[in-house]
């Protein structure tokens, strides 16, 4: 938990849940487990407000509580869960891609409530659909919901009592009777269930798995071609549900299974698939490796190596964009050859010694590379010391994730200022739209266009221009937030694996 993470968490809470929740949430993030009494005293909020915000935070799994020996309830905030809230648009988009519009609505609904009963979600989604005049059967929504549960995108909230007895299957079981009429069964997004650190192994970061799979497939498509991408996709899909997050490789699948699951048209011959697989396992990155000869050859995907490669690429891209191609060459050289002296670097990278020195020290000053002193004598005299430079990828990715959190926070802060600065204008427009809508509601469709036009004119062209600009800026900021979060995602996956 760093300063930047805390700042981002506070911005997220403020944006989505308001200032009171933010105050309580930030207090808990800063101070660790605290009883209710302390929270009330230090935040100087009324008891009722604090209780309500805690309730909201618990509902969204940002805060958990436990009763200590003295029978006092302690509330503890989980900053990692709060930070994941920034990824919500991606989750919704992912659900949309995989399960269509109803899937999108379901996930959106659950994200808004944190955890909520299935029946409520279905009713809400149905009412939303009828509002938009989309013909959708309730049973279809229910079956989408069931699909989401079956593919582990949603899971049941653990109850405190059934904690230790519940098995993994229970987490994804549907309400009894298969009529999907479970009353009072609370469900929530699987990824949110970070819960207690001791229970962590049971959670399935299904959405993240989906994102990582997507990134791997697109990398393979870039690296080889779309056929190879399809093969890797099929391999990943084959063990979608039973993947062990701690194992560095996926379970091996046979050639026959792979070729049966290919989606690309025209179908490839088995021989061609074998060729692609051997090509993939020959690659430097080692995305795929062969584990045996059973069933036409068993293959598995080296998840850890894939994540490492993706992270390395992310870091490289940062260096390239920030320092230019020649620094990038030095950086890659160090990645490839580990430890090197300044003179060797200049010679191998074909950069004149003067420039090489400059680039190297620039990278060093910005902490992208590390230095190791090896003295030949015990007095550490500079003239008799080797200075070896190297890249520490885990450390560097930690630094970059910090930078990304800062950037994300900056974007959010900027967006909030933009809104703040143009508040008067935005409010004016909102009021106007509301008046027009109420006019329409009163008079039906035959409201005179003239009256509406007259009302619209209240916003002068300059203001209209400004509003348009504001909307574009906000959209750009929001889009960038999602992009920065992608960087955070890849880096955090790498850090978690190391």
């Amino acid at each position: 938990m760093s300063v930047q993470q805390k700042r981002l968490a506070s911005l997220i809470l403020k944006e989505h849940y308001g200032e009171v929740v933010e105050k309580v949430g930030c207090y808990l993030v800063a101070k660790g487990p605290r009883p209710l009494r302390d929270i009330i005293r230090e935040t100087k909020l009324s008891r009722e407000l604090v209780q309500k915000s805690l309730c909201c935070l618990i509902q969204h799994h940002f805060v958990s509580y436990e009763v200590n020996k003295k029978n006092v309830s302690l509330y503890n905030a989980w900053i990692s869960n709060i930070l994941l809230r920034a990824r919500a648009p991606r989750y919704i988009y992912c659900a949309k891609c995989l399960f269509g519009y109803s899937g999108e609505l379901i996930v959106d609904e659950i994200l808004q409530h944190g955890s909520v009963e299935m029946s409520k979600v279905v009713t809400k989604v149905m009412s939303h659909l009828t509002e938009e005049n989309i013909d959708f059967d309730e049973s279809e929504v229910k079956s989408t919901f069931a699909d989401l549960v079956m593919s582990h995108f949603l899971q049941r909230v653990r109850t405190e009592t059934a904690d230790n007895t519940s098995t993994e299957d229970d987490m994804y079981s549907l309400p009894p009777g298969l009529t999907f009429q479970g009353q009072g069964v609370k469900r929530k997004r699987s990824i949110d269930d970070d819960g207690h650190p001791t229970k962590r192994q049971k959670t399935e970061a299904k959405f993240h798995q989906e994102f990582i799979d997507e990134a791997i497939v697109s990398a393979v498509i870039k690296k080889v071609d779309k056929f190879a991408g399809d093969i890797v996709k099929a391999m990943l899909q084959l063990n979608e549900l039973n993947r062990d997050p701690l194992s560095p490789t996926t379970q091996a699948v046979s050639l026959h299974e792979i070729s049966q699951n290919l989606t690309i048209i025209p179908k490839m011959e088995n021989a061609q698939v074998t060729q692609y697989l051997s090509l993939l396992s020959d690659e430097k990155e080692n995305f795929v490796s062969k584990t045996g000869e059973r069933g036409g050859g068993m293959y598995c995907i080296n998840m850890q190596k894939c994540i490492d490669a993706l992270c390395q690429n992310t870091v490289e891209s940062v260096v390239q964009e920030r320092f230019g191609s020649r620094c990038f060459r030095i950086f890659r050289l160090l990645l490839l050859k580990k430890h090197m002296e300044q003179k060797q670097i200049g010679e191998l990278a074909m950069i004149s010694s003067k420039d090489a020195k400059e680039f190297l020290y620039k990278l060093f000053a910005e902490r992208f590379i590390a230095m190791q002193e090896i003295p030949r004598t015990s007095d550490y005299a500079p003239s008799r010391t080797f200075y070896l430079f190297s890249v520490e990828l885990p450390q560097l990715s930690r630094m970059l994730i910090e930078k990304s959190y800062q950037a994300l926070g900056n974007l959010m802060a900027r967006r909030q200022t933009e809104v703040q600065e143009n508040r008067r204008l935005v409010e004016k427009e909102e009021r106007l739209e509301a008046t027009i809508n109420s006019l329409k509601a009163q008079h039906g469709e035959d409201t005179s266009a003239e009256a509406i036009e007259e009302l619209r004119e209240l916003i002068i062209p300059a203001e209209r221009e400004q509003l348009k600009k504001l909307k574009l800026s906000l959209a750009k900021l929001e889009q960038s937030e999602i992009q920065v979060d992608e960087t955070i995602f890849i880096l955090s996956q790498y850090i978690a694996g190391n």
């Binding site: 870039k222 190879a228 074909m350 800026s473």
Partner: protein, 314 residues
């Protein structure tokens, strides 16, 4: 008188013979011989005569006198070198010898001074003198731009002094390297594009996209962008920079032509695995002052000029 004449003549012949004998001995032992060795070899010559013979040889410059520990050594000097240094005074000779020893690596003026114990002004004069006679030359070293090294005039400077093909007048030719780097990449890309078009199985396609360093070097020499002759090794260093750039990858295969242990280096162009990452698409990614950026501070996201420019780019 006749007898005396004969005796004198005898003596003279003896003296010439003696000189030849000493030179002979020196030639047989290129490392030099001691006085003792000469007296052992010519036992019936009185020391007086020996001394005159050696003195004559020394003054003629046919042998030279060296000091090794407490001993004195006589060494043969070949006639050509002797001819060159003819008429030099002792100090000039000494400096010439020191420079000669350094070979084609050259020697720095400070090292000459330490070895010869001659004063700086004196030494400068001698060096200038030798240079004007075209016996030695000064070469600028690439290792340190201000450092001049001296070597014999007819020697080709060592690669560590000149830096090889990548240097002209001690300056590293970064532009030249950049151009070659781009051309090599272009060649590899073309090769990959050609392989893409082929209608064969993926393995054959992959194999076709590789090119050996010989191919690249042939292409470069036919392009004629280089004024100097570039060896295959030079091209390989260029190709290696492409590997470090992440634009190419290298693989080793067994070379069928020569011995079985011989390996061939193959290169192929690569495309980056991912587009530039999200962080770098916002101003904060390249911001030089992001360390000092605080909410409400002099540098803050709400007042950020970079962000303002970026947002107005729409």
């Amino acid at each position: 008188m006749a007898v005396a004449d004969v005796v004198i003549k005898q003596e003279a012949v003896d003296a010439v013979d003696l000189e030849e004998r000493v030179v002979q001995l020196c030639k047989e032992n290129p490392k030099g011989i001691t006085d003792q060795l000469i007296s052992q070899d010519l036992p019936n010559i009185p020391p007086q005569q020996r001394v005159t013979a050696i003195n004559r040889l020394l003054s003629m410059g046919r042998i030279e006198l060296l000091k090794s520990g407490a001993q004195l050594l006589y060494r043969y000097k070949d006639a050509q070198a002797a001819a060159k240094t003819k008429g030099f005074d002792l100090q000039e000779k000494l400096v010439y010898q020191i420079i000669e020893e350094a070979g084609n690596k050259g020697i720095w003026i400070r090292d000459i001074r330490f070895k010869s114990n001659i004063q700086m002004t004196q030494l400068n004069k001698i060096l200038k003198n030798l240079e004007s006679k075209k016996l030695i030359k000064a070469v600028k070293s690439v290792a340190a731009s201000k450092k001049k090294v001296y070597m014999l005039f007819n020697l080709e400077p060592d690669i560590t002094v000149t830096g090889g093909a990548w240097y002209s007048d001690q300056d590293f030719e970064s532009e030249f390297v950049e151009v070659l780097n781009q051309q090599c990449y272009k060649f590899l890309q073309q090769k990959t594009a050609l392989a893409e078009k082929m209608n064969v199985d993926p393995l054959a396609k992959r194999n076709a996209s590789y090119s050996s360093s010989q191919d690249v070097s042939k292409y470069i020499s036919q392009l004629g962008i280089s004024k100097v002759e570039l060896s295959e090794g030079d091209i390989e260093t260029i190709l290696n920079t492409l590997v470090f750039d992440g634009k190419a990858e290298m693989t080793l295969v067994a070379d069928s032509g020569s011995s079985p242990t011989e390996q061939k280096k193959l290169f192929r162009a690569l495309v980056p695995l991912m587009p530039s990452t999200g962080l770098m698409r916002v101003p904060c990614g390249v911001c030089p002052v992001s360390d000092r950026c605080r909410d409400g501070g002099p540098i803050s996201p709400s007042k950020c000029v970079y962000m303002k420019d970026w947002l107005s780019e729409l």
